[in-house]
């Protein structure tokens, strides 16, 4: 069915672990659990593996974030990225072409510069580039946008589908059952414990359920009686025809709220975000976003004005109140784990999968993953990450007020 590693066998009546969601999170987690010796793992995917956000994201990978929590988690993940192709025996096309976050205004420069001592302290490799350095690195970019930036020369991008297939094949070789067209319809909870799930009308008993359903995590959590404070959010991207190589590293621009890279085939791929409430709950594409994307990228790289855009698509992320993933056990239901709230889920998956697998097996979180636990919503210890290109709740509310 559709991709390597998907089983043709019927669902069994009992597993040790059932992972809901066959995206990069769920399948990488299944692989890591199998590697730790866990047996009888099933991944149940509503459509086919990679049909959701995994096959729709921008594929970019970095660890130079502003907060200690993000920098540590994503740096662990970046190290895993370097190991995957050999370990999984499948080329993920991870390319260390570099990743640069570009600042234009004085405020953005100050914000990015503040990260550098954090990176130094944590051992995260990054370097400061001034305007001249940036012009050399990005000769096709408009110089007026390039005031300063943080470069990670060993970061870059990978192929999202190839990475998923790599994990899926490796997981199935270790005995993980990946079931396609197998949506979770209900979660069976009794006396504060998970007892099983209903999939395609069939009851499956299991002591551990992991919710890795991406944009549908809130609904699946509700099936277990867990109120997950996340929200579906639509992101749109474009790709052009293949162009002569003009851009080596992946680039994120804070001023334009955009991110892009040029693939090894020469296609320019990118997406932007704008300070607007996102009213769409399904994978539609909008003219508003298309115009935003075209005008920002023509501003950043004037030469692509003549390039043909050939595809425009969208995907859904699961946005939490602090934009950070929600990982680990749920507060009131024993055995119900969360792998949710992802907006940077592709780049984070290799790291989080390993740490979450350990948390599930050992019952204790590693310090790198611990800050992302659910209890932060009760304790108020939300994570403050400034170096993302996603509008904050305040910006969204501000726009909603402006529109009203």
């Amino acid at each position: 069915m559709a991709v390597p590693g998907v089983t043709h066998h019927p669902l069994r009546s009992r597993y040790e672990v059932v992972i809901a969601g066959g995206g990069i999170q769920g399948i990488a987690l299944a692989y890591e659990l199998a590697l730790m010796g866990v047996r009888d793992i099933a991944v149940v995917e509503a459509r086919w593996p990679g049909a959701g956000g995994t096959g729709r994201n921008g594929e970019m990978i970095r660890s130079a974030f502003a907060s200690e929590e993000w920098a540590r988690l994503f740096d662990f993940s970046l190290r895993r990225w370097g190991e995957l192709s050999a370990e999984l025996d499948f080329n993920t096309l991870f390319t260390t072409a570099g990743y640069v976050v570009v600042a234009t205004t004085a405020d953005e420069v100050a914000m990015l510069r503040d990260q550098l001592p954090v990176h130094d302290r944590l051992g995260v490799r990054s370097e400061w580039l001034d305007a001249a350095d940036l012009q050399e690195l990005l000769p096709a970019a408009a110089p007026d946008l390039l005031t300063g930036g943080v470069l990670q020369p060993h970061a870059g991008f990978a192929h999202h589908d190839a990475t998923l297939w790599a994990y899926a094949r490796a997981a199935s070789r270790r005995g993980v059952e990946i079931h396609a067209q197998a949506p979770v319809e209900a979660v069976d909870v009794a006396d504060g414990r998970v007892r099983g799930v209903i999939v395609r009308g069939q009851r499956i008993s299991t002591p551990v359920v992991v919710n890795a359903t991406g944009a549908f995590a809130r609904e699946v959590a509700a099936m277990a009686g867990v109120e997950l404070p996340t929200q579906r959010y639509l992101l749109e991207m474009i790709v052009t025809e293949s162009l002569k190589p003009f851009l080596r590293p992946a680039v994120a621009s804070l001023a334009l709220m955009s991110y892009c890279h040029q693939t090894s085939r020469g296609e320019f791929v990118g997406g932007t975000e704008f300070k607007a409430a996102n009213a769409y709950d399904d994978v539609v594409v909008t003219l508003e976003a298309l115009r935003d994307i075209a005008s920002k990228f023509v501003q950043l790289f004037p030469r692509i004005a003549g390039a043909c855009l050939i595809r425009h698509w969208s995907g859904l992320v699961d946005k939490s109140p602090d934009l950070s993933p929600v990982l680990g056990p749920s507060p009131d239901v024993e055995g119900f784990f969360l792998d949710a709230g992802w907006t940077y889920g592709f780049m984070g998956a290799p790291g989080s999968a390993r740490l979450l697998a350990r948390w599930i097996v050992d019952g204790q979180p590693d310090p790198v993953i611990a800050p992302f636990g659910f209890e932060r919503f009760a304790s108020g210890k939300l994570i403050s990450e400034a170096a993302t290109v996603v509008p904050t709740e305040e910006a969204v509310e501000e726009t909603q007020r402006d529109r009203a």
Partner: protein, 92 residues
């Protein structure tokens, strides 16, 4: 057979489709993603019939039973400049 090109944009051959199916990519959407057929400048307008026939042959099913790949806008390639409200500069 191995040099029979089905997709002129990305040089996808009949052998590539055969290998994709043998590896376990058995849906036009995942064969598209694995081989990159349908994903070039023609967006399948030129190659779709040939590729779908090759897939059908490998799967031993009629083309009419296959679910087509997801179509993506725009219907025809559009230059970035006009979308951005600027003239497209083709001097590159």
């Amino acid at each position: 057979m191995s040099k029979t090109i089905l997709c002129l944009c990305h040089d996808v051959t009949a052998e590539d489709v055969r290998r994709a199916v043998a590896e376990g990519y058995t849906h036009p959407e995942t064969i598209k993603r694995y081989t990159s057929a349908f994903m070039g400048p023609c967006q399948g307008r030129w190659c779709a019939d040939l590729v779908m026939e090759a897939i059908a042959e490998e799967l031993g099913r009629p083309v009419s039973e296959l679910q087509p790949t997801s179509g993506r806008p725009p219907a025809y390639p559009v230059r970035m400049g006009p979308l951005a409200g600027r003239p497209s500069d083709e001097s590159e």
